[in-house]
Amino acid sequence: MTIATDPPKESFRLSMLINDTRYRSYTFQAIAVLALIVIFSILGNNLAQNLAAAGLNISYEFLGDPAGYDINQQPIPYDSQSTHMRASIVGALNTLIVAFLACVTATIFGVIAGVLRLSNNWIISKLMSLYVEAFRNVPVLIWIIIIFTVTANVFPQPRDFRGDNPTASMVGDAVAFTNRGVYVPKPVFEAGGWIVVAVFLASIAGIFLWRRYARKVLFDTGRIVPVFLPSLAIFFVPALLAYFILGRPIGLEYPELRGFNFQGGLTIRGSLIALWFALAIYTGAFIAENVRAGILAVSKGQTEAAAALGLRSGRIMNLVILPQALRVIIPPLISQYLNITKNSSLAIAVGYMDLTGTLGGITLNQTGRAIESVLLLMLFYLTFSLTISALMNVYNNSIKLKER
């Protein structure tokens, strides 16, 4: 018969918090957290006290008051009687619009420049180096102002389009390039118009399904199903069929010179163009370097091994190089997207009414609520940035090295 005796239970002593390695790190972490809390509460308390002493109280009530100013680019209906909150949202949407446009364009510029910089053609690769070095070494604010000033002075004024013998004319009677912006036709949806859009979106989903099917067939049977031509057909045919069957439900509204400006159509203002284009070429130069780095990071042996297996050069790029290069490209690309979003706050230089222009500019000025506005501004930008980085991380996870 054996008597199982528990090992003598070690009683917990206070000194173990320091001396026992099991607890020591927790002790120091707890102390650090406490110190941090104390410091921040002192700072916050001091802020509150000083604000109270200055007769300023933190209050967000002003967000409900009428803004009283107008905004030129309104993604959602807005007038000067709308609230400061709505003005902020208009500004936030304008920020997102320019950030989205600039991210897409910068990626295109960057990928093209990055790939071409590795070209064997001496002139092309040097031209691309010139682009990269010229654009990423000059502050983006300067590019914004240069482009804005150039467009304001090079393109004709709307009044040059007037008269029997105008000095300027519209491109194809549809698009007008003026120093205030570009006026393009606007699609007008009649009854059934949205069905065409729905069909179009469905066919894009169809393309992805087709590609998945092609891949499955390839993996299951080893048979190669064509992808490019069927995708092209799925992209165009259903939408065009729906468009004609429903009796052309989407029309175009052309811009027309009336009064001081072109009216109707869609206006892409000079300020948006300057900001969009400047952010795109500036950040594109950085992305080009990321892309080049990504491609160079894949060792030459991979290409040679794939070639030895009998893969053609297009497939080597798509199946071997690119999946590995993307792993290197995507994480810094996320930073570049965040940079674009934050750099878009330079919009005020050209009078583009983004979040910094409305909430952090006019609203802040007219209400004098500087601290509240700046805190809210930080919250907005933080939300944008975290959202972008969360979305990009999802994509990054889907392409990153999967170890089995």
């Binding site: 222009g357 000025n365 007219q366």
Partner: protein, 338 residues
């Protein structure tokens, strides 16, 4: 107040410092330098000349205050401010006074906690258009693109005017007046709107001023005046009565030329009180007896300052209009020196 240094670093930038500095007059005397906020450059009102010396109508007020307080009109540190930075600069104590064509409004006075010490220019918002447009009234501006300087009252007046007249417009907000003028001259906007005095001042600098007209509509009241922080009444009094001294001097016929002579004693007791030969007005302000004499001798009285900087003989060419003395049918009126 050590922790408030941290707070200052945390974007609140010296709000607390503004509170701590209670006696601006003593601070200015101790520093032997007046920090005066002005514009980044409006011809006639505040602009550095070819030698880098600040000149102008608003600058003259700063110099007069420096002369009254420090006895030397050159002891002024001019701090250029934009429409956006001016109030923060004043509230934080970076500048002692702001003389920057700033409109006296209820919310700035009450909500932003500033003290407007008077009005040195009665202005109103106007519109400038190229004469080639053939526009004769602001009500014809339906659909026009309008350049405005952002962060000013003009934005709000503009929105109100167009809404009240039920006409549409496209605002182009610009950060500074100079950039707005460039956009206007490039034709990126049809109309440039700001205070009528500034329009006249900017137009004077155009290559062909004759090609641009000011529309007859004045859509707002813009009483412009210097301002100081709320809650420091002694300092507010010094600035207020320096301006009043300049105005009273014009009313009483005291000029930069005859001030010295009149300070010898006159039959007019108000002139004597103004110039410090009678009574103890200077002492009440915490200054010496000759404060007002020095202020007047710096750039002259209100009328002289007006005519040398923005009057009809200058390129700016503004008529006195509302800014004439009350005795001449204008609104410029100083409380008595008594």
């Amino acid at each position: 107040m050590k922790t408030s240094v941290f707070i200052g670093a945390l974007t609140v930038a010296g709000l607390s410092a503004g509170v701590a500095a209670a006696g601006t007059l003593d601070d200015v005397k101790a520093r032997d330098m007046l920090n005066c906020g002005v514009t980044t450059g409006v011809p006639g009102f505040a602009e550095p000349d070819a030698n880098g010396e600040w000149q102008g109508f608003d600058v003259a007020v700063c110099r007069a205050v420096a002369a009254a307080v420090l006895g030397d009109s050159t002891k002024v540190q001019f701090v250029p401010t934009t429409g956006k930075t001016r109030f923060t600069a004043l509230a934080s104590g970076e500048i002692d006074m702001l003389a920057r064509n700033t409109t006296w409004t209820f919310s700035r006075d009450v909500d932003l906690k500033f003290e407007f010490i008077g009005i040195n220019y009665y202005d109103g918002q106007g519109f400038m258009v190229p004469s080639a447009l053939g526009v004769s009234s602001a009500k014809d501006l339906d659909g026009a693109t309008v350049c405005i300087q952002t962060g000013t009252t003009t934005e709000l007046n503009l929105a109100d005017f167009f809404r009240a007249n039920n006409i549409s417009y496209e605002p182009v907000p610009i950060e500074t007046g100079a950039e707005a003028v460039q956009q206007y001259l490039a034709g990126a906007c049809d109309v440039y709107t700001t205070d009528a005095s500034a329009l006249a001042a900017q137009r004077a600098n155009f290559e062909t001023p004759g090609d641009h007209v000011l529309l007859p509509e004045i859509v707002s009241k813009e009483p412009l005046g210097p301002l100081v922080r709320h809650g420091d009444n002694e300092w507010g009094d010094v600035v207020r009565w320096t301006l009043n001294a300049l105005i009273t001097a014009e009313e009483l016929g005291v000029t930069s030329e005859n001030a010295e002579e009149l300070a010898g004693g006159t039959d007019n007791p108000e002139v004597n009180r103004l110039l410090g030969t009678e009574g103890t007005l200077g002492e009440m302000l915490g200054l010496d007896a000759e404060w007002a004499k020095r202020a007047i001798m710096t750039g002259g009285n209100y009328g002289e300052i007006f005519s040398t900087n923005i009057g009809e003989e200058t390129p700016i060419g503004l008529a006195r209009g509302l800014n004439a003395q009350w005795t001449d049918g204008g609104l410029i009126y100083s409380p008595p020196f008594r």
